[in-house]
Amino acid sequence: MNFLQPSTWAEALAMKAAHPEALPIAGGTDVLVEINLDHNRPDTVMDLTRVADLAEWATEDGLVRVGAGVTYTRIIDELGDRMPGLAMASRTVGSPQIRNRGTVGGNLGTASPAGDAHPPLLASDALVELASASGTRRVPVRDFFTGPKRNAARKDELIAAFLIEPATGPQTFSKVGTRNAMVIAVCSFALALDAGRRRVRTGIGSAGPTPLPAPEAEQFIEGELDWDGRQPPSDAAVARFGELAAAAAKPIDDVRGTAAYRRHALSVMARRSLGWAWQDYRVGWA
């Protein structure tokens, strides 16, 4: 196995250009498990932990740009007020040790449908910044996931960062697992209300070949919500929102749960999430 260890971002991009097969590794909470279980035998691994820029975050044109190497722990501690949905999802990732190592960049790289960061990124309309020696581009996260464990990055590209607008309304994240901590999602649901634009955004995890938004549910409920009067939506509208969210999923039966249960649970989580978010909006959002 070849081991590359760039110390600057420019060096990393040059190495990736020269070794497009190189598998990037940051926290190692996915890559090393895959290697240990012999599910993957990469010829070349590129350790990105020495690239200091990757572990930085900053505000840029009204967006927060978070380096791909920022850990879940730091997102919870440093960015929880600006991205509450992602912070809530980050709290459900593994154990404290995993959260100290694991990164959202790595989650995006693996692009597992069960990645906990993905639903809140979808609900926040995040952008993924991809870079190569020949340039940088920003891909909407809704276009980023191209298949099970596949993403839009080219072979010569590295994930540099993701960009999120600071929360413009209440955000929630819920995840069903069959134990009360340290569990891979059976299915998960993220919701973000954008009070200014009067938009609702969603993200579904672990209930399809990729993380998914529920656009029909979003459009439906945007029209139902009483943004000005802030009265609660009708029970029927909330129920319909749950049904449409569940209908957006493409779940299968697997070792963690059944397709039928996933749809059911998504409808419940969508209903409850809407209730919590709307309550926050009513009492707390300017």
Binding site: L37, G177, Y261, V268
Partner: protein, 751 residues
């Protein structure tokens, strides 16, 4: 260190600091690494094995197949039906077919992958009922019934006014010890082998290895290595024979250490089962009869299935007076992974059924479920369904009374302010802030045998040595008893310290240089090895007193206290070290508990068991009924331990056992599809975390068994039996759903 004191584990600090040497940490300078070639099919005929490609891989020193097994290529705890390396058939997914030893573990694994086995794939039998069908393929020469136990007790045509029936299903639980199967085999010049191994019974490993290797037992020496949990998973051989065969062939030490995935096929599991019950009672709620059919899936090989089905049958009715019983227990061979010993050993599966039945009966009679149980509680002097008269304390009613009287935890509702997710079903995953949550309370009680049963020879050996070291008296205790985490090391030291009045007690490493201790299973070691240490210590003490009397013309009534020989009134006669001088007093004793007898083949009647232990649980569970997620809010338990030798260790056993029972109730299951394990990892085989396991409120009774050393009872298994059934009852109470299967899955509660 005296009996009855809470004594800290000597290895506790090292384990917390990561400095404890587990069997997977063993190392020898020039050692090779072993790897196992395993069957990718649950059932297939081996047509040919081609080792040439594996042999040619870099770093490879040895490749072995069934042809290279130097002794008998069959082993097994009760029936010798399992090959060390498969020769004609493979009967389960992951069965060992060949072995490789190489310089580096990765070289060994890759060579194992390169080895070619030509299989004729056969249709596996993956259901125990299907295995019993007359036209089913015979997986073993004597057919697919590993053992059938019949219990016919009382009036076989008894009828009752109130009848309830039920069918129950139990999933396959794994012991999931954190330490993988691992050890180091070191060949010696004289053709013998030393094996350092984490096991539950050194001598039965030795006996089986000697036969497999074709060596006399004295040429196979075993030393206990650092163990990371056992719970029954280390009763059978795993890598022991494989490492020894490789080491003897290579002429170099060979280490083997399973990966987590391999560990799931490297040991037996708890038997999954289906149980059909019919309970008949009179209108006052007194049981008239119980009929049951219990079908356990034993998997591909027998392991300890024959004893597990005996327990499942003997304890099938729970600790109740049952005038008439008709019980048929069957354990069948299938092509599923082999099942054998796990904490609770047959009494776990049936407890789910008999306790669900008792609740059903209570509901039918509109009676309080605890009251119904009290009304039927076994008492000292009652006859069990096996015809045995139960003696010693039988505190069924006391235990029930105790858990029913404990205060209930505060309701989770109406806290106001911020929601504490860690206290809710779903935990930090934020699935409810109280929506859909209903609370239920459930009760269960169970019992089981302590020690071996049905005439299986039960004894232990202890060597106790008293001498002077640096001017002070020291005691060395040597047994072959396996410390598997249960705390036997402190128990042995406490007993020797108590009997000999000496403060410096050293427990030597367990090995085969002393007589057998029997296994660390059946909750028996504190009783049996504790009994042996007590007996040997008493023999040493008698010699010391005799010596004091002879040399000092001292009066009678002497004893030893705090390193001194003292009179009956505590007056110093002589310091022990002074009396001993250079003298070494050593005694070896065996301890044999009372005899047991095999179950009658037609009626199941016999004095089959030596001691019985009881525990009861009350579970309080919050259920998110819409999502099917659970939070066990509290477990309350009462258990009679006879005498708590080390109270802190007893509490640990009760908490740990309750947690393992909780695991089966709510999440732990090996999921199989066509004989293949789908979740052989700790990512998908879920164990309870601290957010899943609640605080345990406990009442430890010390009622004293007149037959046992210090009056003690085995402690380790009873908590595992009733905690899960109490949780199932609480979920039933919360949701109104029948809950006839464990683990309880979210979709069982919602769809």
């Amino acid at each position: 260190m005296r009996v009855g004191e809470s004594v800290r584990r000597p290895d506790g600090a090292a384990k917390v600091r990561g400095r404890f040497e587990y069997s997977s940490d063993l190392h020898a300078p020039d050692m090779l690494w072993g790897a196992t070639v395993r069957s990718p099919h649950p059932y297939a005929r081996i047509k040919a094995i081609d080792i040439s490609a594996a042999r040619a891989m870099p770093g490879v020193h040895v490749v072995l197949t069934h042809k290279d097994v130097t002794g008998r290529n069959l082993y097994g705890l009760e029936i010798k039906d399992q090959p060390v390396l498969a020769h004609d058939f493979v009967r389960y997914w992951g069965e060992a077919v060949a072995l490789v030893a190489a310089d580096h573990p990765e070289q060994a694994r890759r060579a194992a992958q390169a080895l070619k086995v030509d299989y004729e794939v056969l249709k596996p039998i993956t259901d125990a009922e299907a295995a019993l069908a007359p036209d089913a393929a015979k997986l073993h020469p004597n057919g697919n019934i590993t053992r059938q136990v019949k219990i016919r007790h009382g009036d076989q045509s008894a009828r009752a006014d109130i009848v309830v029936t039920g069918e129950y299903e139990i999933g396959m639980q794994d012991q999931a010890p954190l330490g993988p199967e691992s050890g180091l085999a070191v060949p010696e010049q004289d053709g013998s082998v030393e094996l350092h191994i984490a096991t539950q019974w050194l001598h039965v490993d030795q006996e089986q290895l000697a036969a497999v290797l074709g060596l006399p037992p004295e040429k196979v020496r075993l030393t206990m290595a650092g163990i990371g949990g056992a719970f029954g998973a280390r009763e059978d051989l795993s890598m022991q024979a494989h490492a020894c065969l490789l080491a003897l062939e290579a002429g170099r030490p060979v280490k083997m250490s399973y990966s987590r995935t391999e560990s799931f096929v490297g040991h037996v599991h708890r038997h999954p089962g289906r149980l059909w019950y019919e309970h008949g009672a009179d209108r006052d709620g007194r049981l008239v009869y119980v009929k049951a059919r219990i079908l356990l899936d034993g998997g591909a090989y027998a392991s300890s299935s024959t004893a597990v089905i005996a327990n499942a049958s003997c304890f099938s009715c729970g600790p109740y007076r049952v005038p008439s019983a008709t019980i048929d227990g069957i354990v069948a061979y299938t092509n599923n992974p082999p099942c054998g010993a796990m904490r609770g050993f047959g009494s776990v599966q049936n407890c789910y059924a008999h306790e669900a039945q008792m609740d059903k009966l209570a509901a039918e009679l509109k009676m309080d479920p605890v009251e119904l149980r009290m009304r039927n509680a076994l008492q000292t002097g009652d006859k069990l369904i096996t015809g045995q008269t139960i003696d010693g304390p039988v505190p069924v009613a006391e235990l029930l009374k105790s858990i029913a009287a404990m205060p209930l935890p505060a309701s989770g509702e109406g806290k106001g302010g911020d929601v504490d997710l860690t206290k809710l079903p779903g935990g930090v995953s934020n699935t409810t802030h109280g929506e859909g949550v209903k609370r239920g309370v459930g009760y269960a009680i169970g019992f089981k045998n302590i020690g071996y049963s049905e005439g299986f020879k039960d004894y232990s050996t202890a060597k106790v040595r008293l001498f002077t070291k640096d001017g002070k008296a020291r005691v060395e205790v040597h047994t072959a008893a396996a410390e598997v985490g249960q705390g036997l090391v402190t128990v042995q030291a406490q007993i020797a310290g108590t009997e000999l009045g000496v403060n410096d007690v050293v427990v030597l490493d367990a090995d085969t240089n002393v007589g057998s201790a029997g296994s660390s299973s059946a909750s028996r070691q504190t009783y049996i090895t504790g009994g042996a240490v007590k007996t040997a210590s008493e023999a040493v003490r008698d010699r010391v007193i005799a010596m004091a009397r002879a040399e000092l013309r001292a009066p009678s009534g002497l004893h030893i206290e705090n390193d001194n020989v003292v009179t009956g009134t505590g007056k110093l006669v002589v310091p022990l070290a002074t009396l001993l001088g250079d003298e070494v007093i050593e005694e070896t004793r065996e301890f044999h508990p009372r005899q047991t007898f095999p179950l009658d083949a037609e009626t199941g009647q016999a004095d089959a068991h030596m001691q019985y232990a009881f525990a009861a649980h009350r579970a309080v569970v919050d259920v998110d009924a819409e999502l099917g997620l659970l939070k066990v809010v509290e477990l309350a338990t009462a258990q009679d331990v006879g005498k708590a030798i080390n109270p802190q260790a007893v509490e640990g056993q009760i908490e740990g056992g309750s947690a393992q029972g909780l695991g089966l109730a709510v999440m732990e299951e090996i999921q199989l599809k066509d004989g293949v394990i789908r979740n052989a990892s700790f990512t998908d085989y879920l164990l309870p975390t601290i957010l899943d396991m609640p605080p345990v409120r406990m009442d430890v009774l010390e009622l004293g068994d007149p037959n046992s050393p210090y009056g003690l009872k085995g402690v380790g298994e009873p908590p595992t039996i009733s905690s899960g059934p109490a949780i199932a009852a609480a979920v039933r109470a919360a949701t109104g759903r029948p809950i006839t299967r464990v683990p309880i899955r979210p979709h069982d509660l919602t769809l």
